[in-house]
Symmetry: C2
Subunit: 331 residues, 2 copies
DNA sequence: CTGTTAGCGCATTCAA
DNA sequence: TTGAATGCGCTAACAG
């Protein structure tokens, strides 16, 4: 077993309390005493027990982050950012991957409460509002990229409608009329908004909304791949496809290259997220940039309190932004 | 504050102990009592405090996993696997990203001990042997992809030498004689072995080992990119490059496409890891498959105890494997 | 500057 | 089948 604070106290001939003070730099300690204690600590390889400390201080210095998919670069980058930001403030990160699964989300929040996390950040949870509200009464909770307006739950939000509208409009302005759409999980609000943006852009240009051009996806690359097969089997194929996230767009492009279709010559693709790849795929994907990193920072500030000097930066409204690369052809 | 076991006990008119037994299904409880307790739990939204439980049982049901880089798909996939495997056994995963930084590694192990993790898995740590040995006396520790032979530290190991040898030999057999090599962190044993494999393959075919063809990399895509610039500035350029991990190979390929060089027509590339991408890069990268997922599973079994029915599968020797795709040209 | 007492929320041990 | 006492390792509050 590891040495405890008592072992150190005994060896240094002081009380446990004094050792505690030495470790935490709280209150005055005679230099000689301090030296004794430090020696004892070294000799015993003493490490304070964070768990015990949490019990009494009621503070774990842990923030729990629940994301849908760790393998999605959009989220793995965000995790990096969160980790770095939290470390600056002396916090550790507890990461869970919900896999877009409601049951997992529930279980992870419960586990976070049980482990006395100081706060939970959920990225686009699928959990219904009332459960989120209930949870937020047991633990500080920030929901990211989903509006919780009108409830007591903290949220960070970017309107996804405009981004989807822009993407669709761009395709239309490039001369496309038959535009496929690959949906995500529509019980997540941002997804619904993307769908609306797509629909409204079509409407603005007098293009009829066609259900058969809408494929249900699950935000994983695999479903982008399958959508390709669906679209290609259509009597009237789309000339362009808008995928509601980049993973599905890349899955779609994989299918293209697998089946010998050229992007953008044979079919155009546009995504959503602005994934930052460590490799430049050919062609580079045009997409809608989604400020995930900024959102996560804002979420952290919401939980830990805003750093004075950064309020301005943080408080500003967050925008999506069309990123034009090489995956769309102008007809 | 949340309800405690005492609140439940009071409401159910029993002692805390009885509630504890009800929750943990230990010992007999009258059905009526149990019903009362369950009602009280529901009414109070009681959730057992895992932290307190850990204090007394000395078991946290947490395994701490330390990887160098979360954004590297090799590791993010491995995290998925670990999480799934651990969940099956009722464990949670605490993930830390060391960023190939020794100080971080040290701090994360210490933090794992402080949080009473039941075990630590470190993937290719750079920490020196003696520190790892010291840590392993405070907490069950498994080191993955680095041999700890001759010490008391548990390890899971694949010999990386053969994989590197195979890759280099393949390039030679494809007609290449000037073969660049991009190194990783050589204080990590597997990296050193890869380097040796490269060197020995050259020797076998009577090709002189040329220091100027060896670039120091850091396993990040960026350094692969920079290596390209280095190699291109050489008076006698290599016709092929072996990157000691896939991230650097992809970084290298990015540079190729940025500078208008075609892979494999202008230059051949081979990687190491067998990253499983969610899209098909063009050209597809030839590489050496590295059984990371199996290693992590084995590490978990080492920590939690082998599941009887899977001993056979787990106990087998792990191999690397050459995966031939489209990034190498036959001269 | 240092020590004592008490308790965080729970489970183990022993007793009833 | 249930309960009381005890302690996990630490720190807050108060006393000296």
């Amino acid at each position: 077993m590891s040495a405890t604070i008592k072992d150190v106290a005994k060896l240094a001939n002081v009380s446990a309390m004094t050792v505690s003070r030495a470790i935490n730099n709280t209150g005055y300690i005679a230099p000689a005493t301090r030296r004794n204690i430090e020696e004892a600590i070294k000799k015993l390889h003493y490490r304070p027990n964070t768990i015990a400390r949490t019990m009494v201080t009621q503070k774990s210095h842990i923030i729990s982050l629940i994301v849908p998919d760790i393998a999605n670069p959009f989220f793995s980058e965000l995790i990096k950012v969160a980790e770095a930001e939290l470390r600056k403030h002396g916090y550790s990160l507890f990461i869970s991957e919900a896999e877009w699964n409601i049951e997992n989300e529930r279980s992870f929040v419960n586990s976070s409460i049980g482990r006395m996390a100081d706060g939970v950040i959920m990225f686009t949870p699928r959990l219904p509002d009332d459960e989120l509200i209930a949870f937020s009464e047991s633990i500080p909770l920030v929901v990211v990229d989903r509006s919780m307006e009108g409830t007591s739950v903290m949220d960070v939000y970017v309107d996804n409608y405009q981004g989807a509208f822009d993407a669709t409009e761009y395709l239309i302005q490039s001369g496309h009329r038959r535009i496929g759409y690959i949906r995500g999980w529509e019980d997540v609000l941002n997804t619904k908004r993307r769908h609306e943006g797509y629909r409204d852009a079509l409407a603005k240009y007098g293009i009829e909304y066609d259900e058969s051009l809408v494929q249900v996806g699950d935000y994983r690359d695999q479903s982008g791949f399958q959508s390709f097969e669906y679209f290609m089997a259509l009597p009237e194929r789309p000339t362009a496809v808008f995928a509601s996230n980049d993973m599905m767009a890349y899955g779609f492009m994989s299918a293209c290259s697998r089946y010998g279709k050229k992007v953008p010559d044979d079919i155009s693709v546009i995504g959503f997220d602005g994934i930052n790849l460590f490799f430049t795929p050919v062609p580079a994907l045009s997409t809608v940039n989604h400020p995930g990193n900024e959102m996560i920072r804002k979420a952290i500030y919401l939980l830990l309190g805003m750093p004075e000097q950064e309020i301005e930066e943080v408080d500003k409204y967050l925008y999506t932004e069309l990123v034009l690369r090489d995956s769309v052809k102008h007809l």
